[in-house]
């Protein structure tokens, strides 16, 4: 077990390292921050001074080496816009993002999983078709369309909820619903097919033949097995808690990581973009490890090989 964990952690670190490296080079090759942050008609000597002060005049591999060395000591660089440490800027936004992604995550599970189970148990019924119709609509519709639709109905027409900003609880409702709806739709569809797959297995019929009531067959024999594939998709959703709200945060002007990322990319605020990508890579990788561990816990076949 220890060996396995060590191996997984090593792979995780490698993944993070690759993401960071890739981001570093792509960002530097795709635009000059000096020209974006200073105005284009700034005197050449001040641009040169800017470059020198941020180390942009060095060869790119020197810059990279310096970045890695600093990052390893915990220094992820400063924002080119306001000079504050990038890590500080990013971490400030985390609670704000989690304030909408965590409730949305709960909403996805609370709606998606039961809806999927229900649809599977009532396969081909009207209720099943209706659920799947909503599900298809939910995950084919781009989130900004749903966001605008919700704004149109609840803010413009009914005037019940604010359309943007972050002044209070009411502001969070529409972003949460937008995020939650799409995730719930995906989860419902996934849970349904996982459940159908399990219900078709011989051990389900064998459990009925044993004399168990249908309710017990479903809850004690079908659900634990259907949970195995469903866990994967839920784990993936955990990975998107930090960075999955870029579009929604932009539409609702919610001051989270997503909006920070959009602004930082537009400005080529290198240190900030890299810090966000590092954070995203870390959450993704962590959630993957957690999913694997949970997998081993609920599926005994992953724990041991046949004797």
């Amino acid at each position: 077990m220890i060996g396995y964990l060590a191996q997984r952690l090593l792979r995780a670190l490698l993944t993070i390292f690759l993401v960071v490296t890739f981001a570093f080079f792509v960002l530097r090759l795709s635009g000059d921050p000096a020209l974006l942050i200073m105005s284009v008609d700034a005197p050449p000597e001040s641009i040169a001074a800017f470059r020198k002060s941020w180390g942009l005049d060095q060869p790119i591999w020197m810059q990279y080496l310096a970045y890695v060395v600093h990052a390893l000591t915990g220094d992820l660089g400063n924002s080119m816009r306001d000079g504050r440490p990038a890590i500080q800027l990013v971490l400030e936004r985390v609670p704000s993002t989690l304030a909408i992604t965590l409730p949305a995550f709960a909403l996805k599970i609370a709606i998606g999983v039961p809806a999927g189970i229900y649809a599977a148990l009532r396969r081909n019924s009207f209720a099943d078709r209706l659920t799947m119709l909503f599900s298809v609509a939910g995950f084919t519709m781009p989130s900004f369309v749903l966001a605008l639709l919700l704004v149109l109905v609840f803010s413009v027409k009914l005037g019940w909820l604010p359309s943007s900003g972050s002044d209070g609880l009411a502001n969070a409702i529409l972003p949460i619903v937008t995020l939650g709806a799409a995730g719930a739709a995906i989860l419902a569809r996934f849970t349904r097919s996982a459940m159908l797959e399990v219900l078709g297995q011989p051990y389900i019929r064998a459990a009925s033949a044993k004399g168990l009531s249908w309710r017990r067959v479903v809850t004690e024999h079908a659900l634990p097995n259907a949970a195995i594939p469903t866990t994967t998709i839920i784990g993936f959703m955990v990975g998107t808690l930090i960075a999955g709200a870029v579009v929604v945060e932009s539409v609702f002007a919610w001051p989270g990581i997503g909006r920070l990322l959009v602004v930082a990319v537009a400005n080529r605020d290198l240190a900030v973009v890299q810090t966000i990508l590092l954070l995203v890579a870390m959450t993704m990788v962590t959630s993957n490890i957690v999913v694997d561990l949970v997998y081993g816990w609920i599926d005994p076949r992953m724990r041991t090989a046949p004797k």
């Binding site: 077990m1 060996g3 396995y4 191996q7 992953m302 724990r303 041991t304 090989a305 004797k307």
Partner: protein
């Protein structure tokens, strides 16, 4: 006797596996096929029997060149089979074709079966025009007992037996000389099995095909084979004439296998029932691989691996005790 078509000598296929769980096991060797030799002549059938994991399907895949050999050699018409993928290999390979267990899985369900029968011709660049290829496909369909109107059907429109005939037609269109049949009738209903077996025998008589016939159904193997080889854990343990082998098996494993066959008559016999399951091929017991389940094993069996030795009646058996009891050479 005619020249051998296929000579397989000491075919070996080992796999590196990890033991002790998925996570942090140590490397081990799985001996799927461990030194199997046989000769096949034109118009003859070698039946390969044994339980799952005994290596009969791996042997088939080795013969077809679908798996590389770990060691050993194969000769077709006396010519050593060159490295897989070379031009000469491809030419030789054409003379060996395969009939699968599950015809539905072996066919593409979106393509009319006639086109699937023609396809190998195009792949090997045989025949100049589509018309020529179509004529050839029609002729083959007829020879496997199908009619022209089946040409445009799709696999799901045909019955299991008809699908197996299509698979057979597709293999035969390249005019192979050896057909490897891996459980060709196991997926078929009882009343259809006889149809397909009779067809295989007729085709053999007409075209002089050689068959490597793999099945767990000993009765069917006896029906089609000129020679039978019994495999246990990657090795041949007994080989010989099917009538003699099944009426008086000498290897204790063959005896158990024969005795396990339920006979469709009321003559209930005393049955020899083996204890336990076949061991894992990663963990083959020392000496004779069968000794742990063998009812007559002695200490010597644990120490030394018995080799295939000829008996007086021309059979070969790999058992220290059987050779002695029958008075082997």
């Amino acid at each position: 006797m005619s020249q051998p078509l296929l000579e397989a000598s000491q075919l070996t296929r080992h796999y590196k596996v990890r033991r002790g769980g998925r996570l942090f096991g140590h490397a081990a060797t799985l001996r799927a096929v461990d030194g199997v030799s046989f000769t096949l002549r034109p118009g003859r059938t070698l039946g390969l029997v044994g339980e799952s994991g005994c290596g009969k399907t791996t042997t088939a895949r080795l013969v077809l060149g679908l798996l590389p050999l770990t060691s050993g050699e194969m000769r077709l018409d006396g010519e050593t089979l060159p490295k897989a993928g070379s031009t000469r290999w491809r030419e030789l390979r054409r003379t060996v074709q395969m009939v699968y267990q599950d015809p539905l899985a072996a066919l593409d369900r979106r393509i009319a079966v006639g086109r699937q029968v023609m396809e190998p011709l195009a792949i090997h660049g045989i025949g100049t025009s589509t018309v020529e290829r179509r004529d050839k496909a029609m002729a083959i369909l007829e020879s496997v007992g199908l009619q022209a109107h089946h040409f445009v059907r799709y696999p799901h429109e045909l019955s299991g037996g008809q699908r197996q005939r299509i698979v057979l037609a597709r293999a035969l269109i390249l005019e192979p000389r050896l057909l490897v049949c891996d459980e060709p009738i196991s997926a078929l209903d009882v009343s259809i099995q006889a149809q397909v077996v009779n067809l295989l025998l007729d085709l053999q008589a007409k075209m002089g095909l050689a068959y490597l016939f793999i099945s767990h159904d000993l009765r069917m193997v006896r029906q089609v084979s000129h020679e039978v080889a019994v495999m246990y854990l990657g090795r041949i343990v007994e080989r010989g004439d099917p009538d003699r082998l099944f009426s008086a098996p000498t290897h204790p494993y063959t005896q158990a296998l024969v005795s396990a066959i339920p006979v469709a008559a009321r003559q209930r016999r005393q049955r020899l029932i083996l204890k336990g399951d076949p061991p894992n091929p990663v963990n083959v017991p020392t000496g004779c691989a069968f000794h742990e389940r063998c009812p007559i094993a002695v200490a010597h069996c644990r120490a030394e691996t018995p080799l295939l030795r000829p008996l007086a009646d021309g059979r070969e058996v790999a058992c220290h005790l059987a050779a002695a009891s029958v008075g082997g050479l």
